[in-house]
């Protein structure tokens, strides 16, 4: 059986996903908070984490946004097997859904033209929302993941085109220094996303994918997974703490995504996700639409 997906349903889901992502934190992030709270020894940090946990409950109780930053909207579309969808219509539908969420909820449009700084109050503009489309033969149907990427964490993004002679040490040192430079500006505790390898643009993209991956997942590459564990331990020795006010809980985790690179290259990128690590997803199958994280 082939599943045909009407653009109208995609539009509705794109709208719904933006609002859901802004209001409900995924369960893996909530569990991440539980773990940090249990291990925190600094008094200020305990109080800061307590307010963050309380905010999650207030957002749910009042049906409000977790954070005022509605972010840059990102939609990751994964097309599985046996799906027929008009790609052009799909992109247009996502854009309309994003615009409708902004107007109809209403949400603050955080998106402006980069030169005129004009805000169309639609959360859309040239190239925004970001729509990534990929394929996966592991499931039947179509999945849309929505990530509102906050600017506090996004403004602290780094790329370094290290060279082979600097080895893996350059990558490790760079991550530690990025966490130090970010301090409290990225709204820690963060998920530190590290891209290793690829081209310059792919490396940064990998860092973003790593930063927005669910907690508890690991890099598919065994060497990358080892690096994740080592870096997670190391950055949490720094004592930056929640909000940069000191404490153990600097990062929920360091995530690594990697790609092969050129014989002359050793690129590393860092992109962080703030503690309000929001995302929502919708799975389209024969049975209908299933919303989750």
């Amino acid at each position: 059986m082939t599943l045909r997906i009407d653009p109208g349903r995609i539009e509705q889901a794109a709208k719904e996903l933006y609002i859901r992502a802004l209001k409900q934190l995924p369960p893996d992030i909530k569990r991440g908070f539980d773990r940090l709270v249990a291990n925190e020894t600094d008094k200020t940090a305990q109080a800061v984490l307590g307010v963050m946990v309380k905010n999650i409950a207030v957002a749910e109780a009042t049906d409000n946004l977790l954070c005022q930053d509605t972010g840059i909207p990102i939609y990751n579309v994964t097309i599985g097997r046996n799906v027929v969808v008009d790609g052009v219509a799909l992109k247009a539908a996502i854009r309309r859904g994003c615009e409708r969420a902004t107007r109809e909820h209403p949400l603050r449009s955080s998106v402006v033209h980069p030169i005129t700084r004009r805000n169309e109050h639609t959360s859309c503009g040239p190239g925004i929302p970001l729509i990534h489309i990929d394929f996966d033969d592991g499931f039947e149907g179509l999945r849309i993941e929505m990530i509102p990427k906050g600017s506090g964490s996004e403004n602290n993004s780094w790329l370094r085109m290290a060279i082979p002679a600097e080895g893996i040490d350059a990558i490790k040192r760079f991550v530690v220094d990025c966490v130090l430079d970010a301090g409290g500006k990225t709204c820690p505790p963060t998920i530190v996303g590290v891209g290793v390898g690829g081209t310059a643009d792919l490396c940064v993209h990998l860092a973003k994918r790593a930063a927005t991956r669910p907690l508890g997942t690991h890099c598919a590459d065994p060497q990358g997974a080892v690096l994740e564990d080592e870096l997670t331990e190391a950055v949490n020795l720094l004592g930056v703490g929640p909000q940069g006010l000191g404490g153990n809980a600097t990062a929920f985790a360091v995530h690594v995504e990697l790609a092969a690179t050129h014989i002359t290259m050793n690129p590393v990128a860092v992109n962080m996700q703030c503690h309000s690590a929001r995302r929502a997803s919708a799975l389209f199958t024969e049975a209908g639409i299933d919303y989750g994280f």
Binding site: V58, Q68, D69, K185, A234, L237, V240, C274
Partner: protein
Amino acid sequence: MAHYELNMPVSEGDVRRLRINDTVTLQDRLFGIRDATQIALFDRGRDTRLDLRGHAVIHTAPNVKKVPPSPQFPAGYAPVCIGTTTSMRMERFTEPLMRRLGVRIVVGKGGLGPASLAAFREIGGVYLAIIGGTAALETTWIEAIEDVDLDDLNPESLWQFRIRDFGPLLVAMDSHGGSLYDSVDHAARERRAAALAALNVKG
């Protein structure tokens, strides 16, 4: 470490009394400002009819809903979600904000730098840390949007909020040269070598 309830506006003496690690709850009034607001005020020579003397500002751009003006919504806006943005981008505006508009308290997240710390010391002001990313909670401390100016910059307008029990907020930078961010940053950089050693990397 003491706790203070401050009814806005405050005097220079009120803020000079505050020390880092004290906590503060603000009452009555708070102004919202952001990058574009301050670029307009301090780089482009625009002015505001709102009186910020002795007041507190928060680094924010809220989610609001347009509604007909009424006693409940005097500015024609209902608050939807009001939270705090990263302060450091607005570092160079702290001094003019204090000198030109008479602001005494900056509420923000992530901290401000040396120019702001110097302004707090010279003119008499403090930085109060709010917990970033906790806007749902913060919104419950805001009773109404009383007024708005420079609204062509929306959402980065100059907002006037009526607040109740806004806090507790942490005094993170004071008028005596104290900065929690400086001390945490200094301590973290001292631990850099230990973090690199754990990774078998030479500094």
